[in-house]
Symmetry: C3
């Protein structure tokens, strides 16, 4: 009994164990790093709490490209722990009537974003637990009401930080969002007879590798194995942009420097590359729905 | 009485509450992120104390462009909490007789910088509390005395980190700086009859929006309201670079994609943009004192 | 005796003093920041422990350029404290038989890297304490075994984070690496009579300064002092690319804006620059073994 008071005090004073659990706040935007916009957002977040840990997905999303943003978020989200709060600001409709929402996924991740489709892929991959609309009367940087063009700083960074720091609960974000979220139309890869068909959502920009939406498991269904030769075509709408035979390789090192290969990328999707070269630049390959890929075994 | 000792021990051992208050150390430079210079500075800071939290404004300031740097700092500083230490290294005079100073503003922010004008705008906006000159005999990375070309690492990062970690007090930076700080000549926007005149300090680079120094309150003084049409001219010195009528819009969404607008930016200044387009690139608009903007109501 | 329990509890509960000592985890890669690869690695690291502090050297290494990477690492490592864990992923051989190793230097720094020569210069500068091979059966992100192309995320970030967070000891990385590490052939600068000869390992990219491998001490051995004139030639293989006389200056400010100079850079090596200009661009100077520099006193 006599130790009760010190133990109690101890548990009040020592918040350090809880500190371990501080959530990450992870920013993504199309702002670039040349000016101070990203820093202003982080300043707002750090002002909410000096304890939250602040990181980035990237700020180099092509301006207003929601499709690219959705893919980047999907590439990254599952590698961050449960409880991580992502703040995504690709917002061509800033200041318009578009809604501001927070998605909580079944995996326990949070996504603070304008309702414009950016979270389509993570919603599919991680499952929708609940969506809430940000109540800006409560969740907006005090004093910022006269600014209409930087919701990333005044609403999203502020709300994301308060959620990550547990200043507010998910419920306190605002009311449940009853309408349907905006969703991008995402093409699905398929097998038709002996041919696998898909498209090119993004490039592995830095190296010029071409990432398709054809999953590892579809390739396995075709019983293609490392060492097999694949016949590949790439069309931009109806125009043939590439046709060739490439080995389906386990790793880049299975082919000589300068030679093409097919492989499974870090998202477990089929991809095309040139070992230490740039497949996309060499064959002028782009991304988006109009870029179609088909695969079959070489004859 | 008998609980005194454990409670005492507890308060000695548990420094976590104070930890909340650890100051941010925020770097700005023209170094870029391609090489290791920024990382060397952060390593020096982290070696001073593993507890300070380290962030960036940007490292993409155009080399030696103090005017641009002053504007970026001004864009960002007030969004960071009181006590934040900014380390700004745009330093064309490195190794020369230029002084090294720390400004403490009335708002409680610190700016560690060469005395070259970079802090002109934050000094005006946040108020000068006191300026001290860095005493390099005490505030210099031990062992670095033979290097003359990287004061960012050897003097500024080291001093900034010691100030942020409270290893030294502001007084221990060095003696009060009695002479006048170098200040940039900053043009002021004015109303002349029916015409508002200002200039273009910086662009919102990523989107090509043109930011002027004409404040929201000057626009209000002219009784211009959202929906009104404005006649805008932009001159580079005496050459007309743009002339047109644009709606004064509340948000980008008030005009169609591809159309121009005038609006109040996130710094509460009048700006010009094309909705989802690039006004600066389209009309080849630059920045600096020679770029003059005038506004009047359209007839 | 009666205070023993609370004190014991206290020391269990209050881990904050140890927290000061948390090691930095510092990433370097050739991934760029445009996509989510760096963020996925940091997410893996943060999932290992929310306490480790995560930083970067740079992610803008020229793809697959191990020589450049070795120089950047060397530029930075010694400014980070003992115990810092560097994770370096320039990995043209990903998925091949190349080994994955961790170097512990005599200075107490750790380098997690493919065995491809990236750590040649830090091994020389900081001394080799021991090298261990990563045992991927124990040190690999759970669930990632089917991915062969992103060891940065699945092996290196994961192992580096576990080492930085002290989840594993250095010994638990894997068995001692008994064979010789891959080492780059690094040319050495020399004095021949009145001529100092060296090469150009890297540029100070942002400013176009040309950094040589000729050390400050070699220059001193030639008894060259600030104010002396130096005759400089630069050859690319046998082709003369630059020949001129430059003052050996203490700082940039010793010459007029636009004029060339020789000086000692922040790594204490002889370098060439134009004050506020771009020496490398002006004279089209590159880097690598084939770029040779010679210095002598001007006549």
């Amino acid at each position: 009994m006599k130790y009760l008071i010190p133990i109690l005090l101890l548990s009040l004073a020592c918040s350090s164990p809880k500190e371990d659990n501080h959530r990450a706040l992870v920013f993504m935007s199309d702002f670039g790093l040349e000016d101070g916009a990203v820093s202003a957002m982080k300043g707002v977040a750090f002002s909410v709490s000096g304890k939250i840990r602040i990181f980035d997905v990237t700020h180099e999303i092509t301006p207003f490209n929601i499709y690219e943003a959705a893919n980047r978020l999907q590439q990254v989200a599952r590698y961050w722990p449960k409880g991580t709060v992502f703040v995504s600001i690709i917002d061509p409709g800033v200041g318009s009537a578009r809604k501001s929402i927070v998605l909580k996924t079944k995996s326990g991740h949070y996504f603070v974003t304008p309702d414009n489709g950016t979270i389509t892929l993570v919603a599919d991959a991680l499952g929708v637990e609940q969506v809430r609309e940000i109540d800006e009367t409560r969740n907006r940087l005090p004093g910022s009401a006269s600014s209409y063009t930087f919701h990333g700083r005044d609403v999203y960074a502020y709300t994301g930080a308060r959620l990550a720091a547990e200043v507010i609960t998910f419920e306190e974000v605002g009311p449940e969002f009853k309408q349907d979220m905006v969703r991008l139309k995402i093409p699905v890869a398929r097998i038709n007879g002996n041919v696998l068909s898909g498209m090119i959502p993004v490039l592995d920009v830095r190296y010029g590798n071409v990432w398709t939406n054809i999953s590892d498991s579809l390739v396995k269904e075709m019983q293609v194995k490392p060492g097999d030769k694949l016949h590949v075509t790439i069309h931009q709408d109806s125009v043939l942009r590439y046709e060739g035979d490439v080995p389906y390789a386990h790793t880049f090192d299975d082919v000589k420097v300068g030679e093409p290969l097919g492989y499974i990328n870090s998202l477990m999707n089929f991809s095309l590359a040139i070992n230490q070269g740039d497949f996309a630049a060499r064959h002028q390959i782009g991304t988006g729905e109009q870029w179609k890929v088909s695969l079959s075994r070489s004859k």
